[in-house]
């Protein structure tokens, strides 16, 4: 199971824009992992600095975030790497 919080946040935002609590609920739904608020905002801060997500204008207290093209590319790369690992493992299991 993927447990890197940065990947989980990017994967959640890949579906569409979300605010913090929305991301927490979405991640819990598709992985079962309950990200704490401290962890989530630590990741959001890092992803913003890396330019992989950006905040959207909002009048509400809850500010939504959007994945940037750089973030999308990074996510695709990570998924490709994971996919390669999964495929290799599956192939080896078949031959074992």
């Amino acid at each position: 199971m993927v447990t890197d919080p940065a990947l989980l946040v990017l994967a959640s935002l890949a579906e569409g824009d979300k605010h913090g609590y929305g991301m927490m609920l979405d991640i819990q739904q598709f992985t079962g992992i309950e990200l704490g608020p401290g962890t989530l905002y630590g990741v959001i801060t890092r992803l913003l600095k890396s330019g992989w997500i950006r905040p959207l204008e909002s009048d509400e207290r809850r500010r939504p975030y959007r994945i940037t093209p750089a973030g999308r590319t990074y996510l695709q790369e990570q998924i490709a790497e994971l996919d390669s690992v999964v495929k290799t493992a599956q192939r080896r299991l078949k031959h074992a």
Binding site: H19, G20, Y21, M24, G36, P37, G38, T39, L40, Y41, G42, I44, T45, S50, G51, R61, R62, R63, T68, P69, A70, T73, E77
Partner: protein, 531 residues
């Protein structure tokens, strides 16, 4: 709980709160409050302060202060101790038949007090108190520890202090006995028992001396047809000046807890800063530390255990020091006795004879590879003779891989002490008249006494496995830290380029990340990643 979480959220850096504070509070309003959420927010605040860069010193300071507060709080949770005290006086009786100077009387009273203190602290006496049906003490400890260790703990909790004598009155000797224990009634009952044992032991000492005195004079009268013996000396009077007091509640030392909490907090703060700012370095150091811990633990398991057996011997003052023939002689000094006998005990000849004792068969595996001189030196290093309680007693201890042999060796050493003592007396008696010899013989019979028989150790004194593992851990951390100096810089094998789009402000910048370099050329971001 929401209040606590709000306080933890307030620990985030001001600049961070300005940017994310409002939405973060909105998320905190949505989540169900719990200690888990509090811990997560608190950890996030610490992490953010460290990532913030310039605030690591503040983090360490905050952690240290938090540690001190926790330490202070913990000190209130530690069970208090209760101390009960009593005061006893020891007075020498002025004897008109055997006049003695005031200094000598005081010296005798002092010696008797020390003697009784030593007897009271003996293993046998303390074991009787611990197992007294009305108390019994240290129930929890007795379930997990050998009796010897519990007795040692009780010795640490008993305090005997000589109180200063009033001006112009060197006697009686005033002695305060106190005992600290987590249970107030038990502390008071124990002091009562210690006091009654002290008085009882004093009475027994007086009776023993008087009996010996009367026997001696009876023998003298029948041999030399002397006139009837003068009355036996009364000895020393021990009395209770102040009975066991109501126990006083003693809180733990808050300052010690405060300092410990502060130091632990600061250490954790440094650790948190290191882990957050240098995660890869942390992994490397942690790997070395774990390797050091495990290796040291394995090495300690390969080292054979060593056990220590201990006995306590007491040097009694000469029984007949108060007889009229010997006049008012000064009491026998145990320190003087040790000074005379110890060199012979530790002599190469004596130790060689113990090593070569076929019943003990010490250093069996080393006898073929080492000379007897080397074995004697090794034995001398493992043997310890230490005077204590102002020299009225001394302990003999021996450390050896076999616990039974350790005990038997101490038994053999005690026999050597007895033998040498008798030899010393025989030499002194050469050329003496019958009467003088009879006196000296009585002195010889009473000079030496075994107070605590040689213990059969249960727990090994060496190696201390956790200390070994801790040292291994520290060495591992050190090697891990040094290893960074010799690490070769990693060179990427290949690069992949990808275009990530223009930056709105058109500012050129290069931001290194772990395995990733982003650079902007003509308003377009490019990323280079080690592939």
């Amino acid at each position: 709980m929401r209040r606590w979480i709000g306080l933890a959220a307030a620990l985030y850096p001001r600049s961070w709160r300005a940017e994310f504070g409002e939405e973060f509070r909105a998320v905190l309003d949505d989540v169900k409050p719990s200690w888990r959420v509090f811990a997560n927010v608190f950890r996030g605040a610490i992490e953010m302060r460290i990532v913030d860069g310039s605030n690591w010193a503040k983090v360490v300071a905050a952690m240290a202060v938090a540690g001190a507060i926790v330490g202070f709080g913990v000190s209130y949770r530690v069970a208090p101790m209760y101390i009960s005290s009593a005061t006893i006086s020891v007075t020498p009786v002025a004897d008109p038949v055997r006049p003695a100077s005031a200094d000598l009387l005081r010296e005798r009273a002092l010696q008797r007090t020390q003697e009784l203190q030593t007897l009271l602290m003996s293993r046998a006496e303390l074991a009787t108190i611990i197992n007294a049906p009305r108390l019994p003490l240290y129930r929890g400890e007795l379930r997990n520890e050998p009796l010897q260790d519990v007795i040692d703990e009780m010795r640490r909790n008993i305090r005997m202090t000589r109180l200063p004598s009033s001006k112009g009155h060197p006697v009686p000797i005033m002695l305060s006995i106190s005992f600290s224990y987590p249970d107030a009634p038990d502390a008071q009952a124990t002091v009562r028992m210690l006091v009654s044992k002290f008085l009882e032991l004093n009475q027994r000492e007086n009776q023993d001396r008087n009996r010996t005195y009367r026997d001696f004079w009876g023998d003298m009268a029948s041999v030399e047809h002397l006139k009837p013996a003068p009355p036996a000396p009364v000895g020393q009077i021990a009395d209770v000046v102040a009975a066991a007091s109501l126990p006083v509640r003693m809180q733990p030392n808050y300052f010690v807890f405060l300092v410990w909490g502060f130091a632990t907090g600061a250490l954790l703060g440094f650790l948190a800063v290191f882990v957050t700012r240098w995660p890869r370095h942390t992994k490397r150091v942690a790997a070395f530390a774990a390797a050091g811990f495990v290796s040291a633990l394995v090495v300690s398991l390969l080292i054979p255990n060593r056990y220590k057996s201990t006995a306590i011997m007491m040097v009694q003052p000469a029984v007949l020091s108060e007889n009229p023939l010997a006049a008012a002689s000064s009491p026998t000094s145990s320190a003087e006795f040790l000074r005379q006998v110890e060199p012979e005990i530790l002599s190469a000849d004596n130790l060689a004879s113990v090593i070569q004792n076929t019943r003990l068969n010490l250093y069996r595996s080393e006898q073929s590879t080492k000379s007897i001189g080397e074995l004697v030196r090794e034995m001398r290093a493992n043997l310890s003779i230490t005077p204590f309680n102002s020299g009225s007693a001394f302990s003999i201890s021996f450390t050896y891989p076999d616990r039974f042999k350790a005990q038997q060796t101490v038994v053999a050493m005690i026999s050597r002490f007895y033998f040498l003592n008798q030899e010393k007396q025989r030499t002194a008696m050469r050329g003496m008249s019958f009467r003088q010899r009879a006196i000296t013989e009585r002195k010889a019979g009473a000079v030496l006494d075994v107070l605590d028989l040689p213990s059969l150790p249960v727990v090994a004194v060496f190696p201390n496995r956790w200390m070994f593992a801790g040292a291994g851990l520290l060495v591992g951390v050190l090697i891990g830290a040094i290893s960074f100096r010799f690490r070769r810089p990693g060179t990427p094998k290949a690069f992949r380029e990808f275009r990530v789009g223009p930056k709105p402000d058109g500012r050129a910048e290069a931001r290194p990340h772990v395995g990733l370099l982003q650079i902007e050329v003509d308003g377009t971001d490019y990323g280079f990643r080690a592939g």
